[in-house]
Symmetry: C2
Subunit: 380 residues, 2 copies
């Protein structure tokens, strides 16, 4: 029978494994299940290809928060009295895991302080390494101030330490903010674990990636089915994984052009902001920062108020990480690079993207100028 | 200025919190963030309304596997030397968590065995309760054999025990398979924790619900931002939550009609299967089972092979839980109700749904008959 005349009626009687609204359960061994599984494995291969990794080193998670949690908890579980080295400006999903491990005496943690420019000194990471250190976790680029950390140099220090001590310290990086703009080839970076989020790279929300280098002793943090090589149970969300893989590919293709375009826009923004009338402090290094990040402090004016005033003029900016927004406290990242900052000062982050134009910047500068003229009457 | 003439230009400069492909970050305090937050809270209110719960008792998770993990791990963390009572036919995401807690000596667990009909005796749950019991976890309806557990009766036994002992044992139910067909009002059921999955109720994959009754001492199992009342960190997936809430509403509206329609279809299926030529064993109670579930064992014929033969004829059924499919072992659920089953026999599950018709059943019976005629030559 030729393929075109072979018409078999499809009857789906597997509603308990997945209701037939969108797609079948990729764990099912029937034809529709296998088709889903194929789509998932193609997505995984695409991701692996972009990162220069093997397919079985790619784990799909529910997002970077889970990827970061899985990296740290999953590794710590396999060691006795482990020690972790991280920095004082990591994302909450790294810092809060570390604090929990300290509180519950499951691990010791050293928080290496960044320099005044928001960048970590690799020598200070090296100094913090101990015989019982099992993990170094340093973010690739900071989510608030956009500073880029010297991941390759840190990897080198760890390799030297490992060689001298004949041991293996694993290196994790939270690459969430870096993926759009920086090289993410695994061999280039020299990391063992890397977290990626989908929503920050124009993919759908609710999905993320954890790269896990072969022979990294990771245990799952949730239990159930044996999906994702036994590291992440639960029916796989094939649609989101496929869209994430596409987003990652597109981000790779657009990287060079966007870096050039946004660097220009960002520098233009900074130039406009450096007029004396604004009287601002720029947070974080000017060179080693993401091309899309502007982070400033305007002394004496609460940043939440600035965000709301800007929003009223149709401009969506942020005061600090959305995960910590609205609590009225200054950002711990800004405090880390500026000890004298007042609790009420805070910071204002403009993060640019694919849709951002020069006209947007001009309009924002104009609006900010109006807002400051108005507010300075009250706050100075 | 009238609303219609007031045109503000919208400029999005918050790409670091969420790239502007679909939606803004609901944690952001600017206008687009607040809009997302509103959508999320409306979805939460819808879910709460369907369950007869309060909005702040509804946690969105990445799926029922996470909901089950969060229920058990999250509760256990707040007690010393805790004891858990569960059954021997729970989903892997409950059983594997319990086994992990036993292995790591974080909890004692009693696995109450179901009766031969696949239903738990509430008196046996009562008998298993100890002074240090903190949690009873019993699924509402089984995913493989569709048997419905007496949740209200078990809740009553726990309440009596609590009253006599002046303590509080919390009651969790994995309601994943029940939502389409059974009452899910919280007060009616008498549970403290309830897990719901979206993909099983015709909603999108990658999202689930955990109902957490007020004053239930639950800790998060992942750390980061303080989303979902501090119980589930990570940027909320608003789109999936909104779609899940809609799916839950629709399931509620369709429940009565679908129960009637599918009960008829299922009974018709069983009637056709009970012809002597088939020589099958029906697994699980015939009355107290989900209206969409047919689960049979065909002695001497491997069930994975039956699934593949059916699939070749366009019929998608399953041998056991998709989370455990393809490992060549008999289902632990079937073993629990039939000790004498051969490891190779397995079981065949047909689960019906909204799109299933009588013609589908007829076609399936015909196909199964052909397959058995063919296979019995080899296997008998």
């Amino acid at each position: 029978m030729s393929k075109s005349t072979r018409k078999i009626r499809a009857i789906y009687l597997d509603f308990a494994s997945s209701a037939l609204s969108a797609s079948s359960n990729p764990g099912a061994i029937h034809e529709l299940g296998l088709k889903e599984k194929n789509k998932l494995e193609n997505a995984r291969a695409t991701v692996a290809n972009v990162l220069g990794a093997h397919s079985n080193e790619i784990i799909f998670t529910s997002g970077a928060t889970e990827s970061n949690n899985l990296s740290i908890f999953g590794l710590v579980r396999n060691f006795k009295k482990p020690h972790i080295v991280t920095t004082n400006i990591e994302h909450a999903s790294v810092l809060e895991v570390c604090k929990y491990l300290e509180r519950t005496k499951q691990a010791e943690v050293t928080y290496v302080a960044v320099e005044k420019n928001g960048i970590i000194d690799p020598k200070k990471i090296k100094k913090a390494l101990q015989p019982n250190t099992i993990l170094v976790s340093v973010m690739y680029a900071n989510n608030e101030i956009g500073t880029i950390q010297p991941i390759r140099e840190i990897a080198k220090e760890i390799r030297h330490f490992n060689k001298n001590m004949q041991k293996k310290i694993f290196f994790h990086t939270d690459a969430v903010q870096a993926v759009n703009y920086l090289p993410i080839n695994i061999a280039h970076l020299g990391v063992d674990l890397m977290s990626i989020n989908s929503a920050k790279i124009y993919g759908p929300k609710g999905v993320g990636i954890l790269y896990v280098k072969k022979n990294t002793p990771l245990s799952p943090i949730m239990f159930g089915g044996s999906q994702e090589f036994g590291l992440r149970p639960g029916t796989e969300n094939v649609i989101l994984a496929v869209e994430l893989a596409k987003a990652l590919q597109i981000a790779g293709k657009m990287k060079e052009g966007e870096v050039k375009r946004l660097t220009k826009l960002r520098n233009y923004f900074f130039k406009k902001l450096s007029k004396p009338a604004f009287d601002i402090v720029i947070n974080g290094d000017l060179q080693n920062r993401l091309p899309n990040n502007i982070n400033i402090t305007i002394p004496n004016i609460p940043s939440d108020l600035l965000v709301i005033e800007l929003s009223a003029r149709g401009i969506m900016a942020s005061a600090k990480s959305a995960c910590k927004a609205g609590d009225g406290k200054a950002s711990y990242v800004i405090k880390a690079i500026n000890e004298e900052i007042k609790e009420t000062d805070g910071s204002l982050r403009f993060s640019l993207g694919r849709q951002t134009t020069k006209a947007d910047i001009d309009h924002t500068i104009k609006a900010l100028s109006e807002i400051l003229t108005k507010l300075k009457k009250w706050y100075n």
